[in-house]
């Protein structure tokens, strides 16, 4: 029943699609996380005027579908004559928004950045009071305290929630295929339209996504074992009987 040729014929497309999916996921997660760390610090400011703009940013990106965000940036920006003029002038920054790859990368990065900002802000807010008091008692400046105490602790505590976000991002990149990118889903849609074999084309892509998901889960489990070791259930130490 299974038409193996559908898969074997399109194997090169699947391979390059897998690579593009991995690229989009890793690059946007990395960019999003880098921007999210300072934004989270701003987000927890007690002053509304400071934290407000960050709230607007995260509210917009968390309240609208990523597909619509991508379409807004990819098809929408071309509406403005000013942007078109920048494209004419070969402005390197604005040229990013003419290519589907650049648009997808920017959209995904901004989207994951919004979610990560809120995750980190939540983790920063739950910093134990004692840690802050101890840092102050040691005479740390506010910046030193952020760098040595608040941010490292928040990053640790955010790890379980962040692993979910990373998996959502991996799955979210599937919509890159709607702006003509040949990611894993794009390769599957291509294989489907060539052979009209939906089961082979999409189930194979699904299995590859499943593998990537398990790989991410495993990676985060290792990360938790490394950075959240103090929260792991205690194991009996060899040679010592309780």
């Amino acid at each position: 029943m299974i038409e193996w040729s559908v898969i074997t014929d399109s194997l090169p497309q699947y391979a390059s699609g897998l690579w593009l999916t991995a690229q989009l996921t890793v690059l946007s997660l990395a960019a999003g996380l880098m921007v999210a760390i300072p934004l989270a610090v701003v987000r927890i400011s007690p002053r509304r005027a400071v934290s407000g703009p960050v709230w607007v940013f995260t509210y917009f990106f968390r309240g609208t579908p990523m597909l619509v965000q991508l379409l807004l940036i990819y098809y929408g920006l071309g509406q403005f004559e000013w942007v078109q003029a920048q494209w004419q002038a070969e402005n390197a920054f604005w040229l990013i928004f003419r290519e589907p790859y650049g648009c997808a990368l920017v959209t995904f990065s901004l989207n994951t950045c919004a979610y990560t900002t809120e995750i980190l802000a939540g983790a920063l807010r739950t910093t134990p009071h004692g840690e802050i008091e101890a840092a102050q008692a040691c005479g740390m400046s506010r910046f030193t305290m952020l760098r040595r105490i608040l941010i490292p602790g928040a990053l640790r505590r955010a790890l379980p929630a962040y692993s979910n976000e990373a998996i959502f991002m991996l799955h979210g990149t599937a919509i890159a295929s709607t702006v003509t990118l040949m990611d894993l889903t794009g390769a599957a849609r291509n294989a489907y339209s060539q052979h009209f074999a939906p089961f082979e084309a999409f189930i194979f892509a699904g299995l590859l996504y499943l593998t990537l998901t398990f790989a991410l889960v495993g990676l985060f489990r290792l990360a938790e074992r490394r950075w959240l070791a103090h929260l792991q259930p205690r194991k009996a130490i060899k040679g010592h009987t309780a």
């Binding site: 579908p65 807004l72 990149t173 295929s177 599957a188 699904g206």
Partner: protein, 228 residues
């Protein structure tokens, strides 16, 4: 207003809302069934439920939707050919609701499972000691308490789900995103129309969080809040 596209966008918004609510109902049913299966003592019930939640949560919703839409069409074609019936088109509305319900049923399964486990066993034993039947224990003790624990998770799932409804535009359902796409192409103002779609989704998610906050307060009556 909006170059005369306002009524059409409104129709699309109504369709998107219907897709969201109907798939929520389906996902709730599947979630309760899945959680009961996962908590069952019988392995034949547990194993498929574990397989369901693992596979569905490991695959992008778009891939699943394309599989159900195109794969479903192929299955129906084979069936109609075998039975010598007329050709039946897979309705993108049905395919969209079925896929979203099926996907989020897996997430709801996990939410409900955790919530059922959070109800203290002593309370169920106390119910049994009062001579309540299993049905009474379920409807008077387990379900209302479970709901309180489940609501925050359900609220999160629902927020994600509403945004996933935009994907039905890819399988050709004329929801708000699809209609905005068409309007943007013919008026050469895609930014304007996508911005309207964003506003619609923001309004829907904001309204949902108001409703869920209200529900959470209602189901947490008598629970002391920790001083945060």
């Amino acid at each position: 207003m909006l170059h005369g596209y306002a009524p059409s966008l409104l129709d699309g918004a109504w369709l998107t809302f219907q897709v969201a609510v109907l798939s929520l109902v389906l996902a709730l049913v599947l979630g309760l069934a899945g959680a009961s299966a996962k908590l069952s003592k019988l392995r034949v019930l547990r194993a498929p439920a574990v397989l369901y939640t693992t596979i569905v949560r490991g695959i992008p919703d778009l891939v699943m939707m394309l599989l159900v839409f195109y794969g479903g069409q192929m299955l129906i074609n084979m069936a109609t050919d075998a039975l010598e019936w007329d050709y039946i088109d897979v309705n993108p509305f049905v395919a969209g609701v079925a896929t979203l319900g099926f996907i989020f049923g897996a997430y709801f399964t996990e939410t409900f499972r955790g919530a059922f486990l959070a109800v203290p066993a002593g309370q169920l034993e106390a119910g049994a000691a009062y001579g309540m039947s299993r049905r009474q224990i379920f409807s008077r003790i387990l379900f209302p308490q479970m709901l309180r624990h489940a609501l925050p998770g359900l609220g999160n799932n629902w927020q994600v789900m509403q945004k996933s409804t935009a994907l039905v535009s890819i399988i050709g359902l004329s929801d708000i995103t699809w209609l905005a796409d068409q309007a943007g192409r013919s008026t050469h103002q895609p930014f304007l129309f996508y911005a309207v779609v964003c506003a619609f989704y923001l309004a829907m998610t904001a309204l949902s969080s108001v409703v869920f906050n209200h529900l959470e307060r209602r189901y947490s009556v008598g629970v002391r809040r920790s001083a945060a």
